[in-house]
Amino acid sequence: MANVTNWIDHLSAEEVVGAVYPGAGSMEMTLVIIGIVLWLGWHVLTAKSESDELERLSRKRHGANDHKSNITDW
């Protein structure tokens, strides 16, 4: 994966290549696709857990001040 193995050779080249990260020139699109899948997947996972939580809490029908009984020591 290493794109640079010797800085002296790299910087003394006639044309210095700027992109020095692993996979430069070949991996970018793959990384973007992985990134987009992770981003969209996060929405799917968290939307589901939020819906479940809201539904569970909604069923309990607590009053506006019930939360105060959960705070026992200020």
Binding site: R56, S58, K60, H67, N70, T72
Partner: protein
């Protein structure tokens, strides 16, 4: 970089933007504190997490497509020709400022020894994106789902505000050429659009339970932790310094840029590459802040919540022309913006039953809109660009700043790219049943489950003697 002076200029510019990014981070810290302070105890943790999670969501989408939009869309597309390639298409050619360098897969969107600026400039704009989304966040606390807010944050933070930035906050933007649009420190491109977007969402979302009486009279739900709100607003002021600096280009030779043969003129410029000074805008920042505070204290009869917010509204109102105003003009404009915004807030609340929990639509939306309109009169006739200046409506060159162009620009920001998209996206989310939390959850408190799950430990701790 092989010559020392060129390297110094480049690395100074790189460091300059980097510092602005760090300073602007405080805006987000301030918004988080402000929102938590304004919300009720039973919603605190969800309120904080909602605003916090916009950071990663807007950041990754800004990387994937937001930054590309800024560079691709200055011509509309299809509205006015680019000064770079004379095309009205998307700017995706081989030129220096082409959007093709800013796709997520570009080698310049990473560590690149040949590019010291893209990352810090990307980040400076990203922090503006967080601000736009965070403005919306405050208005809708205590009743929106985190999922819906995430979608709305991405829409305003990585899509709509950056379209307006490409159109009206880019040296090649069509709004400069056709309308003579001028908005140096983002009265419109950040604040008016975000305020308009928030208003569109609020129209669909509805008020918090109990905000209005059965006869429709609004009730005050004041901040639950005024000190957190106070420190939050101070931090937003602090971050705003970085915002102002980030809107400038710190060092630039305008002679060759404008095609002036043999002329060398090094200066700071605004985002339109017209000259200003960091020193001059410091006058105006502080004087417009002061004008806002003075007017806010007077009109709100010393109410701290509105007085602090008015300081911000004062800056926002003067921001469009703060690269050129006299400091006393900036102060007066700040005062006018605050008085109109304050009155409009309560009028809209009573008339349309809009519950803007933190006054975000007023402080950002109305003040930004008014600031653009005032700028059109006060700076009437100034060039909107350093490049050629011609007649209004002539898309091949640049119109000068004028009242009608600024008014139309304000409509584009607040209504076309703000209110309408906010309303439509909120409607779609509402039709999916994903916009608003259930009524029983709103009454119980979003944090109820978290608090209940900790109750056993809490009780044990409170009864412990050793």
């Amino acid at each position: 970089m092989t010559d020392q002076l060129g390297a110094l200029t480049t690395i100074f510019t790189e460091f300059y933007y980097w510092v602005t990014v760090v300073l602007m981070f405080l805006i987000h810290v301030g918004f988080c504190m402000y929102e938590v302070g304004a919300s009720r105890y039973k919603h605190h943790q969800h309120t904080l997490m909602k605003n916090t999670m916009l950071i990663p969501l807007v950041t990754v989408t800004w990387f994937f497509f937001g930054w590309w939009i800024y560079w691709a869309f200055p011509t509309g597309p299809g509205i006015a020709p680019s000064i770079m390639n004379e095309s009205t298409a998307l700017i995706t050619d081989e030129s220096t400022f082409s959007a093709r360098w800013y796709t997520a897969a570009s080698e310049y969107m990473a560590i690149n020894l040949g590019d010291h600026i893209s990352g810090v400039f990307w980040a400076a704009f990203l922090l503006f994106s967080w601000t736009a989304a965070s403005i919306v966040s405050g208005a809708i606390i205590e009743r929106i789902t985190t999922f819906a807010f995430g979608i709305l944050a991405i829409a305003i933070g990585s899509c709509f505000w950056v379209i307006d930035a490409a159109w009206g906050w880019h040296f090649d933007g069509w709004m400069l050429k056709i309308l003579g649009y001028h908005d140096a420190y983002a009265s419109g491109v950040i604040h008016a659009i975000a305020g308009g977007f928030a208003l569109g969402v609020l129209m669909v979302l509805g008020p918090r339970i109990g905000k209005f009486s059965s006869s429709g009279e609004p009730r005050n739900i004041g901040p639950r932790n005024p000190w957190l709100v106070t420190v939050g607003l101070f931090l937003i002021y602090t971050g705003f310094w970085g915002f102002y600096a980030a809107c400038n280009i710190p060092i630039f030779d305008l002679g060759p840029e404008y095609g002036m043969e043999g002329v060398t003129y090094w200066t700071a410029t605004n985002i339109y590459v017209t000259p200003t000074t960091l020193s001059g805008i410091t006058f105006n920042f502080l004087m417009s802040l002061s004008g806002g505070l003075l007017a806010g204290y007077w009109i709100a009869k010393g109410d701290p919540f509105w007085t602090y917010s008015s300081g911000l509204a004062g800056i926002i109102c003067a921001s469009a022309g703060n690269d050129l105003y006299h400091p006393i003009q900036a102060m007066i404009i700040g005062m006018i913006g605050v008085v109109i915004s304050y009155k409009l807030h309560y009028w809209v609340e009573r008339k349309f039953k809009i519950d803007d929990a933190v006054g975000a639509v007023a402080v950002h939306g109305y003040a930004g809109f008014i600031g653009l309109v005032i700028c059109g009169f006060v700076l009437n006739g100034y060039p909107s660009s350093g490049y050629s200046v011609g007649a209004m409506w002539d898309g091949t060159t640049y119109a000068s700043i004028n009242p009608l162009g600024q008014f139309l620009g304000a409509i584009i920001m607040f209504v076309v790219l703000g209110l309408i998209p906010g309303y439509v996206i909120a409607k779609v989310l509402h039709s999916m049943g994903k916009l608003r939390i259930p009524r029983d959850v709103e009454i119980a408190g979003l944090d109820y489950e978290m608090m209940e799950s900790a109750k056993k430990d809490e009780r044990a701790v409170s009864s412990a003697t050793r």
